[in-house]
């Protein structure tokens, strides 16, 4: 129910200039922005028509949102309608909303007119001018709504701060002259934390607080003080109280300050009570005499007492309280709540709705069967306890007889921190002796205790001692290192083999399929006969035979042997002149050493990664495959026709 009268969800109303910025920039963002005079005129027209239409719709939407979100005074509860009338002036409010509505219609009309004109636009310039004129006229209309919008924004901010009062629930209304203790009472019974000050009109608006009584949720409304003068002269602050009193069906607590500390005489207060009594009709009313710590009903003069008591007729009850001493507060609250609850139940019983519930209820009472008495069965232990309790009630010293509590035990046995609570003492076992027995720990279905050797420490010590003795006797001393010549040689060869294997493995790892490889001829040119000899020697051949073999299978002997060695050297070192035309490896060109080469290889791999991912043939492959292959997307899509896809 409360959510209906929650005005906190109204969206903020922007100022008229902000409003324009919002709408126009939305148009700019959400509609296409690029147009050229060379386009077809229909396209140009459509472009600008879209802009005009979009702007008009945005304005329309924003204004409609305002119109829908603000509460319509005729539709809300009369309490809220009246409160809003008091606070914001109904006429002004309606006028503002009406103007917004008119602006909405005007903007719609402008949009419609200019769309019609745009249909005859024959050039980009003309279309653009028409669009500009349309947006300008809409903006002018909106600019005129400056005051309405700012007023509505103020109303919204105030509405959001109104207390959310549910007009239909159980309610107590606290009213009376200013400074008689209304807010103090409110603070006593609820957690509302209303400001209390020793001057009049501290509370300037309605405040709501909540409390629980009889497991029900109650709301208490604290109202500003009212003075005793005609309705027309009342100001906004007082009118809020009057509104609450007039429209909410609640229990009314009229506060009277007999001590006259509030600055108003008892006569004044009672005459106010009499003058606003029509508002209390059909409501349980309490005349609450507050500040009894200062002045009670017995302390006042007899004629004034008579005045006060004469007010308490016709269903008005009197109650006394002192918020300062905290006396009578809860009693007053309970009295008011009970009276209201009673009245609400009566009202409900009078209505039609109750029948639908009553029809379903049936309280069955069995008839008397025979003359045998069947009283309630009460166990003797319970009866005994009851008598003991009664005795304790009667006699305060019987306190000693009550059973000792855990707290008493704690006090007697060293107090908190020393006393350790015995959790096992109430275990219910077959025999009470078992209570404090140690519970076996079971692991994998076996008792852990069974596997514990009590002598394990001793056994370990015994073992260590034996070890020490053996070590001292020299049992663990290793025999001398006696390695003969044969073994050392074998080890050496093995080591060399291992090294060699490692090198081969590394080489093969480094070798890359994509790496540029030397042709056989190049290899031959690059390798010197000495390398070959070395290689053969490493393989274990005799150095001389190796050299001769190298000579035999090496480069063919040619004229070169008769040549001048200096010329030979120059030739072999210069790349420019070569006897054999070989294809030069471009991947190694411009690179100084192997390290540079490996770096560049790595870079190349990285640069090709994306290409490979996209399955490109090379850098220049820009092919875009068919995005929507026709044979896959055309044709009927009803059942059974596209399963081939």
């Amino acid at each position: 129910m409360t959510s209906i009268y929650n005005f906190k969800r109204i969206a903020p109303v922007p100022e008229s200039s902000d409003f324009l910025d919002i709408v126009l920039s939305k148009t700019q963002r959400k509609t296409p922005t690029v147009i050229h005079p060379g386009y077809k005129i229909t396209r140009i027209r459509q472009f600008y028509m879209r802009k005009v239409k979009f702007t008009q719709e945005t304005f329309d939407e924003k204004l409609r949102q305002i119109l829908e979100e603000f509460p319509v005074l005729d539709n809300v509860h009369p309490f809220y309608a009246d409160l809003m009338n008091v606070l914001y002036d109904k006429d002004h409010y309606k006028l503002a909303l009406g103007q917004i509505n008119t602006a909405k219609h005007l903007i719609d009309a402008v949009g419609k007119d200019y769309l019609r004109l745009l249909k005859f636009g024959d050039s980009l310039y003309r279309c653009k001018q028409l669009k500009r004129a349309a947006l300008g006229r809409m903006a002018t209309i909106m600019k005129r709504q400056k005051d309405s919008l700012s007023y509505l924004e103020q109303v919204r901010q105030h509405l959001a701060r109104l207390p959310s009062i549910d007009p239909n629930t159980r309610t107590l209304i606290v009213c009376g002259y200013p400074n008689v203790g209304k807010s103090s009472f409110m603070n006593k019974v609820t957690r509302a934390d209303v400001d209390v000050q020793p001057y009049a009109f501290t509370t300037k608006s309605l405040f709501v607080g909540h409390m629980d009584y009889k497991y029900l949720r109650w709301q208490v409304i604290d109202t500003p003080g009212i003075l005793d003068h005609p309705l027309e002269e009342r100001n906004t602050i007082e009118m809020q109280s009057i509104t609450a009193l007039a429209h909410l069906r609640a229990a009314v607590l009229f506060f009277v300050d007999l001590s006259e500390q509030c600055g108003y005489s008892i006569q004044d207060q009672m005459s106010l009570f009499a003058s606003i009594k029509p508002l209390f009709a059909n409501k349980p009313t309490l005349l609450v005499i507050s500040k009894t710590d200062v002045c009670t009903l017995d302390d006042v003069r007899p004629e004034e007492r008579l005045l006060v008591e004469s007010a308490c007729d016709g269903g008005v009850e009197m109650s006394q309280l002192s918020s300062y001493l905290d006396s009578g507060v809860i009693e007053t609250r309970n009295l008011a709540c009970d009276r209201l609850l009673l009245q609400r139940v009566e009202m409900k019983l009078k209505g039609n709705k109750v029948n639908s519930v009553l029809n379903k209820l049936n309280v069955a009472q069995p008839g008397r069967r025979d003359t045998v008495e069947r009283p309630a069965c009460i166990p003797t232990a319970v009866l005994e306890r009851r008598t003991r309790q009664d005795a304790a009630m009667a006699d305060a010293d019987a306190d000693a007889e009550r059973p000792a509590l855990e707290r008493d035990l704690e006090a007697s046995q060293g107090g908190p921190g020393v006393y350790n609570i015995d959790l096992k003492k109430r275990y219910m076992l077959a025999s009470d002796e078992w209570r404090h027995d140690v519970i076996p720990e079971i692991m994998n279905g076996k008792n852990v205790a069974d596997f514990i050797d009590p002598d394990i420490e001793e056994k370990l010590a015994e073992l260590e001692r034996e070890e020490e003795r053996l070590a001292a006797e020299g049992l663990y001393d290793s025999p001398d290192e006696s390695e003969d010549e044969e073994e050392r040689r074998i080890r050496d060869v093995a080591r060399r083999i291992r090294q060699r294997k490692q090198i081969i493995a590394t080489e093969s790892r480094v070798k890359d399929v994509n790496r540029a490889t030397l042709t056989n001829k190049q290899k031959a040119a690059a390798s010197a006969p000495e390398d070959f000899v070395n290689h053969l020697q490493q393989l274990g051949l005799d150095p001389e035979t190796a050299a001769s073999t190298a000579q035999r299978i090496g480069r063919k002997r040619g004229r070169s042997e008769s040549r001048d060695p200096a010329v030979m050297l120059a030739r072999s070192s210069s790349l420019a002149a070569r006897a054999v035309s070989t294809q030069r490896d471009r991947s190694t060109m411009g690179l100084k050493n192997a390290r540079q080469k490996s770096v560049s290889d790595k870079k190349k791999l990285v640069s090709q990664r994306q290409m490979n991912l996209m399955a490109r043939a090379g850098e220049s492959d820009r092919k875009i495959g068919m995005k929507m292959p026709k044979h896959l997307v055309t044709g009927k899509r009803s059942i059974g026709t596209n399963d081939r896809r």
């Binding site: 920039s25 700019q28 007119d113 004109l117 005859f120 001018q129 701060r161 405040f207 709501v208």
Partner: protein, 260 residues
């Protein structure tokens, strides 16, 4: 539940944080820098809006500064005539003012003399036929093209009845027909929306006058009955001429200046 003036109430009860004023002062001091940084960073539509705003603010600020300067600066009063003997080189000082008035009067007189019938917009841009008319293809196979549609705003009188479509050469579309004009009275400096009575003359061509085409510079007759103008003889005026001062086809409305 927070209700009513709960923010102010909280401030009253618990006060603000201790560095509130300091923070506020610093924030304000930093604001100029922040604004400048934002102005440099922002781009696109937001930049346009923001720069416009800043521009206006600056103008306003300069104006106020100027006003303060004027207030502070000494100003010569024109009326103050130096008393007593005045040296020769100061004799013609206050004659200045009078001379100015005289010249204004002269100008006014010349203006009035310069002919009664000159209009606010003496020259207009020529409009070609193909801009004015759109060819409407007719015939069963859309081969005939003798029909024209006027693409400019027009005034069509109340009594106009269409010819049968077969013989109607010029079409004046309903969407482009206007009945009212925003007429400014040059002396009253006020604008009224007045009904158009007829088109007196379209400077482009007599044919356009006949068709009632409303372009810039066209003289129209407007109903000024609601202005309550009276002739020197005491008769109530109701028809008066006005010249169109805007391009109605671009603006979607007709603005005119009353010829008085």
């Amino acid at each position: 539940m927070p209700q009513n003036e709960y923010i102010e109430e909280s401030i009253r009860r618990h006060g603000r944080r201790l560095d509130h004023d300091e923070r506020k002062r610093k924030k304000e001091a930093r604001k100029v820098h922040k604004d400048a940084a934002f102005a440099q960073k922002v781009h696109g539509l937001k930049a346009k809006l923001y720069n416009k705003k800043r521009h206006n603010e600056k103008i306003q600020m300069k104006k106020t500064l100027k006003m303060h300067d004027e207030k502070n600066a000494k100003q010569k009063t024109d009326d103050a005539v130096p008393e007593g003997a005045v040296p020769a080189y100061l004799l013609d000082r206050e004659g200045q003012q009078r001379a100015k008035v005289l010249s204004n009067m002269l100008k006014q007189k010349r203006k009035e003399k310069a002919g009664k019938w000159n209009v606010p917009l003496p020259k207009v841009r020529g409009i070609a036929e193909d801009e004015m008319f759109r060819v409407v293809k007719t015939g069963k196979s859309k081969t005939k093209s003798w029909k024209r549609m006027v693409t400019k705003p027009t005034f069509v009188g109340d009594g106009f009845t269409r010819k049968p479509p077969k013989y109607e050469r010029f079409i004046r579309p309903m969407a482009l027909r206007y009945k009212k004009a925003n007429v400014t009275h040059p002396e009253l400096k006020a604008t009224f929306q007045l009904p158009i009575i007829g088109v007196k003359k379209n400077p482009q061509s007599p044919m356009y006058t006949q068709l009632g085409v409303l372009t810039k510079g066209t003289i129209i007759e407007v109903n000024v009955a609601e202005l309550g103008l009276v002739t020197t003889g005491g008769k109530v005026l109701w028809g008066k001429y006005a010249q169109i001062t805007n391009n109605p086809e671009n603006d979607g409305c007709i603005n005119a200046l009353l010829l008085v």
